[in-house]
């Protein structure tokens, strides 16, 4: 049987829309009786709430500190269909703050919030009590302002609007056109003076209903208190004013009828799929002064990072302090020496559970405190390997939950993790020493997420760290011979060598739960007639060697007239990984798969083989994967070999059905039985 991926070429009749609606027809503050009729809501109301319209606007204003203020206005109208939508009535606004520059923070202003209810045919308005806006310090960079709408019940309409004023010009607010509730109209516009350049990044699959862009002449008044020449201020404030005339760039985006979006299995991050627009400041171009590029080239960024005390500073220096506790043998730069250093770091420095791209302390502190975040550890590793004489450099990347990076732009916020790259004898190795059970040249699953960037003073380059480059190979061998005492019972052994990810997990489980618990779990997973014992792991403590598990199996056939035997024992895939009938996003697995299972089974004395599964083989197109089930009956025994291969880790959503059918077949085949009958 050959599975095929059928491409349906639908002919989409294209037509031009004569008129595109450019404005939302919602009039904020003016709610009509008809607005309360749920049948008028043209969206999936089963989520319990619908964003009728949300309009965001960002623009600049001259301020009195001699610079610009960013202004972000938001207004929303939301229909609360039922209790499921009550979450929409509680609003959280995050404001950026910094302890530097006299505790500057973004300000929440002009907050207005009203709930409308239809009571006996009349519209009742309830306004938010300002005392019920709560403030919470999240951390040193964020303050949270929270409020919940008053008088909300099923069928309420809520409207709120607020303004965020910010002097952090890098923080031009992003906009989500899609979210956990359906949105009928979502609009965002940005007006920026020609002095400022921002890069716009759009994500997601939803088409824009309209995009507008134009220019507009705008005047900005900027003023500043001036000091006396001797630097003191007098009782009189003197101000200098600048009138700045700009040909502003204005852009406006609208998405209509965005469905709700929620997480699915085997996706890297919802962030990769949600329709969203975000900005990154790239340059400042003030008339009369030189163009200042805020967005740096990768070369410049690399240089910055290398000198940054939270990143590269000291990584490539001599670091003599370490020599009292750790001294590399001079000239020892074989692969084995690198592995030794890797083990030294992974065993002596504990990961404190925090992930990040920036260090939390100096390399010396990491070394002395014996713990640190991922950057502390991997940059210390880089430093030590460098000190030994290896060619190493840091590689930054974005973890799976952080989303895929857009390679085009040298934008650091897209990255959130750092690993170490080693080049030895023309071979590249990626190292992450943040787990005590990880092997050399293997990364945690969440790192396999597209492209990373080598941070290097001369040659910052793209690094491909794709899930497709990681393969999970597992090999299981079962031998069941006839029991010497009771020749219609089986006795034998099962031996498995694990793939790398499973090995790391197993090592971790063994370290925390111990062998006896592990053994209990496996024993309990077999039916009563199968007993297991003598569990032996090999290479449990040497991460670089293949982890294998071996245990003995004995099966009591109870002298039955008919023996039904599941040849896969407990190694069968019993449930389809892809149960759901349909799927919205691509399948993004963390690795490719290659599993082999082999069985040699002796025919019990006094029995004949009455039923035997047939050999079968299925290929996915383009050599994307295969399943092979081979059976051979010999005079005294039966050989079975089962192979599953997936040669890709990522499958487009169109392939989902095929993938599901493929695993259906696997489940079905692996459930088949061998039947023995008494002669």
């Amino acid at each position: 049987m050959m599975l095929k991926i059928v491409f349906l070429c639908t002919l989409i009749s294209t037509y031009t829309v004569a008129f595109t609606q450019k404005q939302s027809d919602i009039k904020f503050g003016r709610v009509e009786t008809s607005d309360f009729a749920v049948e008028n809501i043209k969206a999936d109301t089963s989520y319990g709430g619908v964003i009728i319209a949300e309009i965001g606007k960002s623009y600049f204003d001259g301020n009195t500190d001699g610079w610009f203020t960013l202004i972000h206005e938001v207004k929303k109208r939301i229909y609360i269909v039922n209790k499921k939508g009550f979450d929409l009535a509680t609003v959280a606004v995050y404001l950026y703050q910094t302890k530097k520059n006299n505790n500057t923070e973004e300000k929440l202003e002009s907050l207005k919030a009203t709930t409308y209810n239809l009571v006996n045919g009349k519209i009742e308005e309830t306004k938010l009590d300002k005392d019920l806006v709560f403030k919470e310090n999240i951390n040193e960079n964020y303050v949270l302002k929270k409020f919940t709408m008053p008088a909300v019940k099923e069928g309420s309409i809520i409207e709120y609007s607020y303004t965020i004023k910010s002097v952090f010009l890098f923080n031009l607010q992003p906009w989500d056109f899609q979210g956990p509730y359906p949105k009928i109209w979502s609009e965002y516009s940005v007006q920026m003076p020609e002095a400022f350049d921002y890069i716009t990044l759009t994500k997601g699959y939803l088409p824009f209903h309209s995009i507008e862009s134009k220019t507009k002449k705008t005047n900005y008044l900027i003023s500043q208190a001036t000091e006396n020449t001797n630097g003191t201020t007098t009782g009189f404030e003197r101000r200098s004013n600048i009138n700045y005339e700009s040909l502003d760039k204005i852009a406006k985006w609208v998405v209509k009828d965005a469905p709700a979006l929620k997480e699915e299995n085997f996706t890297t991050s919802l962030k990769n799929h949600i329709s969203r627009i975000e900005f990154q400041q790239s340059g400042i171009n003030i008339p009369g002064s030189e163009y200042k590029s805020v967005m740096r080239s990768w070369n410049a960024l690399s240089k910055d990072l290398m000198g940054d005390y939270r990143f590269g500073e000291d990584v490539f220096s001599n670091n003599k302090w370490i020599e009292s506790s750790w001294m590399p043998t001079p000239g020892a730069i074989t692969l084995n020496d690198a592995i030794k250093t890797f083990h030294y770091v992974q065993n002596s420095i504990k990961h404190n559970g925090k992930r990040g791209m920036y260090r939390s302390q100096s390399l010396k502190e990491t070394f002395q405190n014996k713990s640190g975040n991922t950057a502390d550890i991997n940059l210390l590793l880089t430093m030590m390997l460098n000190k030994q004489g290896f060619t190493v450099n840091p590689v930054i990347l974005s973890t799976r939950s952080h989303g895929i990076v857009n390679e085009t732009y040298p934008l650091l916020f897209q990255y959130n993790y750092v690993i170490c790259k080693l080049i030895l004898n023309n071979k590249t190795y990626y190292l992450d020493a943040t787990g005590p059970h990880r092997s050399f040249n293997y990364l945690p699953q969440y790192c396999y997420n597209g492209s990373g960037r080598s941070i290097h003073l001369d040659l910052p380059s793209i690094e491909q760290i794709k899930a497709d480059s990681s393969i999970e190979e597992k090999f299981t061998n079962v031998m069941l011979m006839l029991d010497e005492k009771k020749s219609n019972n089986w006795t034998g052994s099962l031996q498995t060598s694990f793939g790398n990810m499973e090995a790391e997990n197993t090592r971790e489980i063994m370290a925390s739960n111990g062998l006896s618990n592990f053994q209990k779990k496996i024993t309990a997973s077999y039916p009563a007639e199968i007993t297991t014992n003598d569990f032996v792991f090999s290479n449990l403590d040497s991460n670089e060697k293949e982890l294998t598990l071996k245990y003995n199996i004995s099966i009591d056939n109870n002298n039955a007239d008919i023996i039904y035997f599941s040849p896969m024992l407990k190694e069968a895939i019993t449930e389809n990984y892809f149960k759901s009938q349909e799927r919205q996003y691509p399948v993004e697995m963390p690795f490719k798969i290659h599993e082999t299972y082999m069985l040699k089974l002796f025919i019990p004395e006094g029995y004949i083989v009455d039923e035997l599964p047939k050999s079968e083989r299925v290929n996915l197109e383009n050599n994307d994967g295969m399943f092979e089930y081979l059976v051979r009956k010999n005079a005294d025994d039966i050989d079975i070999r089962v192979i599953i291969k997936l040669n890709k880790a990522t499958f487009p959503v169109e392939d989902y059905e095929t993938l599901r059918a493929f695993f259906d077949l696997v489940v079905k085949k692996e459930a088949e039985q061998i039947v023995f009958k008494k002669k």
């Binding site: 310090n137 909300v152 759901s580 695993f663």
Partner: protein, 632 residues
């Protein structure tokens, strides 16, 4: 600069006050080393100055023996305005007791401990972890908290977790002689009492306690280890005075704190009369007002003010239409009052299976509030924070445990109702057909009742159609299937039920190998639970949940098959429950019935063996299959 340096070092000297070698691992008695961590020396000193003032000083040193002990190595201290943190510090020592590092207040990170569901709370947390990984090592911490109200007097749990030994631990409370302190001991000897002229001191000590494991299906942890619970006779909270001498006096305190907050706005008063004046029975009125409360409010947690104990008044809820458990309960009581129906607030410790309660030890053991309407033959309990719940249904969240009624005559401890195994019923009927490929198309009708309907009720009520659909397409325990139709209907009675109707095709459910067909007739209700350890059980076996599952399956198989191996009928009777299976094949149709009744109860430790045998039998029977052979 020099001065500052001196100051800092003096401070560090103070904070690590013990001569270093004391913490050498060599000094740990051998018996205590069979553990992940050892409490070397722990000292809690509480000095009670008056009813509204006390200090808590806590110092402890803990040796971490292996990485499994790491979870105890950090410190997390919760504090708020009523319990301000005065001082905090810590030290790290190596195996020889040599000091490696000292930390002070500024090294601790500080965060809000506001839970995600809460709009506002006062609570904050200071935390620190050395994250050391050379074993063994010792951590030492000291902190001091001012207790502005004895309402929050700490208890003593010297054994901080399973697999932790204790070398030395002390708990002392000093108090004015005329001050009465109540306490309750578990597994520990009475305190040593020293008295002077104006003061007395109570002191408990635990020495050389060998680590124990916690056991599955047992009572709360603190009952199997040394524990001292404390409560003051009299206390002061802000400007309020109260007493924990009896449940009645504690109830009076809550009553005083919250009285006079039941005034409704005029429109809501009018509404009450409009809704209820015409109704005949009190029960109808209660139900109508409960529905009104549910439809017109929502739950928002705001834990501010007097320790989160004082309710927002009823007017606040009338206007904002939201509140926390106290505000909504108070609002409900106010509505009932307007309709001339007497109701009381009831404090309770809510949580699924959280039925443990110290009935003979009056103290603040509560985290939730509900409403009790004392009807002649039938007391009605109302949960006011759930806008979907059936009228009068409590569910696993608040059933089967004591609650403190807050009345104008003080507090009264009463027990909330229990749902029986007959009421917690899940009954399912499956009718299907196997086709020639082994696919089974079936209709599944399930009735979930009482505690058994809670999960499915919440799932289907709180999620959109799309999400329910997605859930159903992934979560059935069948290897691979298509879902064709689904439907839920609800009966919101005092014992609520949910009816679920599904149509699915389970692919390859019957396994075909050559001429044989294998089928497991128990399609959706196999027992998968991992079974508890039966060796060396020390604590009683406690089974909390009681329920009944009935499954009847009717599956038509393809023509021309004969049974080769069948399933035996089974009937098990045990003190833990009953289990039976009946199976017959009639006109090419498998008729299979499974009935399982599980009881709740408390059993001696040795019962674990027969209990596990019972579950194993069920597991084995649940997995059993029928084999058919095609007629040649």
């Amino acid at each position: 600069m020099y001065k500052i340096f001196l100051l800092v070092s003096a401070f560090i000297f103070h904070s690590c006050f013990v001569s270093a070698q004391l913490y050498s691992v060599l000094f740990i008695p051998k018996d205590l080393l069979k553990a992940n961590a050892v409490v070397r020396n722990s000292n809690i000193r509480i000095e009670i100055k008056s009813e509204g003032k006390a200090t808590l000083n806590y110092t402890y040193a803990l040796t971490i023996l292996n990485h499994l002990g790491d979870r105890y190595a950090g410190l997390e201290v919760q504090y708020d305005k009523l319990m301000p943190l005065k001082y905090i510090s810590g030290c790290l020592y190596d195996a020889n007791g040599k000091k490696l590092k000292s930390i002070s207040k500024s090294d601790f990170s500080d965060r809000s401990s506001t839970s995600a569901i809460s709009l506002a709370e006062d609570d904050r947390v200071k935390e620190f972890d050395f994250n050391w990984n050379i074993y063994p090592y010792t951590v030492e911490y000291e902190y001091e908290i001012e207790i502005k109200s004895l309402f929050y007097l700490p208890d003593w749990y010297p054994v901080i977790g399973e697999n932790v030994s204790v070398e030395n631990s002390h708990f002392s409370i000093s108090l004015p002689s005329d001050f009465k302190l109540n306490y309750k001991n578990y597994n520990t000897s009475p305190p040593k009492i020293t008295e002077s002229k104006n003061e007395k001191e109570l002191k408990w000590t635990l020495q050389n306690f060998q680590a124990i494991r916690s056991e599955a299906l047992s009572d709360v942890w603190y009952k199997s280890i040394p524990t001292v619970l404390t409560a003051p006779d009299n206390f002061q909270l802000k400007s309020y005075n109260g007493s924990m001498a009896t449940w009645n006096s504690l109830g009076s305190f809550y009553h005083t704190l919250n009285k006079g907050r039941d005034e409704l706005t005029d429109p809501v008063k009018e509404k009450v009369h409009q809704l209820t004046d015409q109704l005949k029975t009190t029960k109808e009125k209660i139900e109508t007002l409960y529905r009104y409360m549910q439809q017109n409010t929502r739950y928002i947690s705001v834990q501010l003010g007097i320790g989160g104990l004082q309710t927002f008044d009823a007017k606040y809820v009338c206007e904002n239409k939201f509140g926390d458990c106290k505000a909504l309960s108070n609002f409900m009581i106010s509505l009932l009052k307007e309709a001339n129906i007497k109701a009381w607030a009831a404090l309770i410790y809510a949580g699924d299976g959280k039925t443990n309660f110290e009935e003979d030890f009056p103290s603040h053991q509560f985290n939730h509030m509900i409403v009790c309407v004392p009807e002649k033959n039938d007391t009605i309990w109302l949960e006011c924070t759930d806008q979907n719940k059936s009228f009068g249904y409590m569910g696993s969240f608040t059933s089967n445990r004591p609650a403190l009624l807050i009345t104008e005559n003080g507090g009264y401890l009463v027990k909330t109702p229990t749902y029986t195994y007959q009421q917690n019923l899940q009954s399912r009927s499956i009718k299907g057909n196997i086709d020639a490929q082994g696919n089974v198309k079936m209709n599944i009708v399930t009735n979930y009742q009482a505690e058994q309907q809670e999960d499915i009720f919440n799932l289907t009520i709180n999620n959109s159609k799309t999400e329910v659909d997605k859930y159903l397409k992934e979560k059935l325990s069948v290897p691979s299937y298509d879902l064709h139709e689904w439907k839920y209907s609800y009966e919101k009675k005092q014992i609520p039920s949910v009816k679920e109707e599904l149509t699915i095709t389970a692919y390859n459910y019957a396994s075909l190998t050559g001429k044989r067909l294998f089928i497991t007739p128990n399609i959706l209700n196999r027992l998968y639970r991992t079974l508890p350890d039966t060796t060396q059980r020390k604590t009683p076996l406690i089974l909390k949940y009681e329920y009944t599952d009935i499954d009847s399956v009717e599956i038509k198989i393809p023509e021309n098959y004969t049974v080769e191996t069948s399933i035996k009928n089974t009937d098990l009777h045990t003190p833990y429950g009953n289990y039976s299976i009946t199976m017959q094949i009639l006109n090419n149709t498998i008729l299979y019935t499974r009935k399982m009744e599980i009881y709740s109860g408390k059993f001696p430790p040795s019962a674990i063996v027969s209990y596990v045998v019972f579950l194993e039998e069920i597991k084995r029977n649940d997995a059993s299959r029928i084999v058919f052979v095609k007629n040649q």
